[in-house]
Amino acid sequence: MKTALRDDLPRLPLYGLVFALLLALLPHLLQLAPWHAAIVLLPLVWRSWLAWQGKALPARWLRLLYAAVLVGIVLLQFNTLLGRDGGVTLLVSLLAVKLLETRQRRDARVLTLLAFFATSAAFLVSQAFWMLAYAAICAIAIIAQLRSWQRLDGKLDVQEYKRASWMMLEALPVMLLLFFLFPRLSGPLWQMPGNDSGAKIGLADDMSPGSFTDLALDDSVAFRADFEGAQPPRNALYWRGPVFEYFDGRSWQQLLNTQRSTPSYEALSPAFSYSITLEPHNRNWLLALDLPAPGALPQGTRLTSRLQLVSNQPVSQRKRVQMQSVTSWRMTDTNVDLAADLQLPAGGNPRARALAQGWAGLPPPARVEAALNYLRSNGFSYTLDAPLLPGQNTIDDLLFNTREGFCEHYSGAFVFLMRAAGVPARVVAGYLGGEKNADYLIVRQTDAHAWAEVWLDGQGWQRVDPTAVVAPGRITRGIAGSVRGAQNLPYLLRDNAAWLNGIRLRWDAVVYGWNRWVIGYDAQRQLQLFGRLGIDDLASPRLLAWLGGIAVLFLAIYAGLHTLQGRHKRPDAAQRLWLRFLRRLARHQLIPARGEGPADFAARAARAMPAQAAAIHAISTAYLAARYRSDAAAQAELTRLVPPFRP
């Protein structure tokens, strides 16, 4: 049947469409420069104004020019029309221009679809859980305006928004079911054009004096970890990250060449099972508790020759990894090239070199001990506001002049001393500790830490934390209890903000749950969930049984509701008594005829049974009063009269 609705778009639904588009575009507009956002926004205002004034749409050349300008701006800003950011901005721009030529329902339909797309693309911007609520609001606005086109009066009122919200509620079960049951793929279908514009956060690619001091002031979350079963003690929570081996006299760099094979090692401690939910940091490395248990690498990761766990792709989305780690180990590989770990700049820091060379005669473990002793006993302090070390000999300045530093100072100086004393050593960056919340651990940027590793014959790489001797509290109590200058720490990290911290921890638990179950819900997580339900494969009979069971449940609920609706309302008290009265009379073949009211029937019954006439009359009068006048006294009378009535 051909539609009989007019093809032009009435004014109010058009405003509804503009409103929905505005909501859908807003997260994208906030990403743009204000002037760019204004240019994209203009067509929305323009089109509404034209509709308000009842004026004609702008000429074709003007629309094309506007579109060309917007495309040009996108090209200038992103150098491409493809890719994530460029593509989305292009879509958003053209969507706005399309509004300028929208006069028919067909155009509005196209825009409606694009509005859905723009809403979903907003998740590229953020996946915080209010984003889902926001997307739901967008969807309600889109559906409401779509509904309003079906109205004969061409209006759009609050009712439509209410009904659209109802539709959303009805869509919810389908959504949840599919969300958890739809098979998740573990990788992209194809590689999208790269877009690494995201800023790098957290640990940096190199380490120089002061780089960790900045991190210590940043209380954003680096990752969260939850242990299955036992958790190592706090002072063993060394989360291992990038390894710095090359020292240029000022900063420590990672070595790029990783062609050497991975040294083998054996575990000396039981393996701890845990999973990490890593915040995106746009780099490849992952953070693992010390070393991954031999042979238990998570999927999509590898262990470099520096025993660093890296992902095959940069972590640009929040990532959840399940791991097993050992906190104590022994290298079984003796044939390791350690040249890079003895490297020192050609000159500089003569005093430190001299100090270290003094220990050269000791066996290597004793050299380590000697360096730690030196740091322990010479009045070094652990502070956030360490003086800048502007000179050429930064290690000398720290060790012999300022004697104030943060973890990067001490680990760097320690590794320098070790190398100068002939012990292979390197700096390892990562995080130390974490804050316990509910059943998991929050590790913040402020927990960033740097320590050292030395190669000891027979044991291989072993951890040495020079900060531990300068400020033992850092290891056992966390940064707030150990550092001098803690007033510079964010308020929430200080010890005196306990109550506020409590609220924040609770909030964090909510966010973590969201991240764990919604954002981080991937193929692995899905299998885990299925595993708990006893399903080990997507194509298993068990899954079919679950699906069938759910379908039957829904049908049963539906059928139940249907039956309830179909059934008459439960009779009220007066009615129940009256029905009882009728049953008593029915034994005497007195049954109300079709269409015979209570009064008429009572009169007939009274004629048929003159002996009971008075009682029958009293009951029928009381019933009529109780039922149709809601007379409480009559109700009581009925309750008194009916039970003893036995004709």
Partner: protein
């Protein structure tokens, strides 16, 4: 897209079997309601797929969620559209008789216990005749126009009800076969020769009858008098309605005889007789019909006219 004729026939037979025309009231039941996506619905599905592909490619869990929300919305639209038709009650009324070639208008009333939105109503594949919103307790009275070409009984074709409510994603439709029929009179012959000149039987009657030619006086208006004879000038003067009466010089009564119309085929005869019945009634002559197997005595007036036209309409049929 054109469906082949044989398929269309099969389809119609199947529909007719599924929707028997049993009574003049039909309530749309769930097993008689059909749902298919509209082209917009297909586009929406494609967009959902696109969002899902994006979600998979960028591994965005919330975009997965949004794609599934869109699927849920499509599903909800389907159910809403379905419920919009479910339980709708149609009652066909008796249409007024028409002459073949005119359009018959079948009255159909739509009733519902709950609110209904944007239901398009039409006969067959033609353009919808009405877009209906029902706000109980009110119903909706629609007139289904059906073109006529043949005299006799015209059955109400199947009524198609369709809705794209609430979001145009699905086309939900159903058919109602209501047992209602319209009487179609034969088309009156356009340039029929005057029945007075045919020299047919001028049967007896009173010498003078009230006719149109000479004004003979006024009498009080009675219900049923033709309005054009009201003496309006008089009425303006004395506040009473009077009817102008005329004397006709001829008193006429005609019996229109089927057998006299030689040289014409059956339908042409019926056409001419219908034209004469109309003309005679117009002239307020008395007239009768003589058809094979049926005679209508001399009389005049609207009831007699209807009887005559009905006899002509149903000539040759069993009814």
């Amino acid at each position: 897209m054109k469906t082949p004729a044989w398929l269309e026939r099969r389809w119609q037979t199947w529909l007719a079997r599924r929707h028997p025309a049993s009574s003049d009231t039909v309530a749309l039941r769930h097993n008689r309601i059909y749902v298919l996506p509209t082209s917009f619905g297909f586009a929406f599905a494609a967009m959902t797929l696109l969002v899902l592909v994006g979600a998979i490619n960028y591994q965005i869990s919330l975009a997965y969620g949004f794609a599934f929300l869109m699927i849920g919305l499509g599903h909800a639209s389907l159910l809403h559209g379905f419920r919009n038709l479910l339980g709708l009650q149609l009652t066909a009324g008796m249409p007024e008789a028409v002459f073949a070639g005119e359009t018959a208008h079948f009255p159909v009333r739509l009733d519902s216990k709950k609110l209904r939105h944007a239901i398009m109503l039409g006969a067959g594949k033609n353009e919808a005749v009405a877009v209906v919103r029902i706000d109980p307790p009110g119903g909706f009275d629609a007139w289904i126009p059906v073109a006529t070409s043949q005299r006799g009984w015209l059955l109400l074709p199947s009524i198609q009800l369709e809705t794209r409510y609430p979001s145009q994603l699905c086309r939900v439709w159903s058919y109602a076969h209501l047992a209602a029929c319209c009487l179609v009179y034969p088309t009156p012959e356009a340039e029929a020769p005057s029945y007075q000149l045919t020299g047919l039987a001028e049967l007896g009657g009173s010498a003078w009858r009230r006719g149109d030619d000479d004004f003979s006086g006024l009498r009080r208006y009675q219900a049923g008098d033709p309005i054009r004879r009201i003496a309006w000038k008089q009425a303006a003067r004395d506040d009473r309605l009077n009817i102008k009466q005329y004397d006709s010089p001829q008193s006429a009564a005609y019996s229109f005889d089927w057998y006299e119309l030689e040289g014409l085929n059956d339908e042409a005869r019926l056409s001419r007789l219908a034209a004469w019945v109309l003309a005679a009634e117009q002239n307020e002559d008395r007239y009768g019909l003589n058809l094979p197997g049926k005679r209508l005595p001399l009389d005049s007036g609207p009831i007699h006219q209807i009887a005559c036209l009905t006899a002509l309409a149903l000539y040759g049929s069993d009814a």
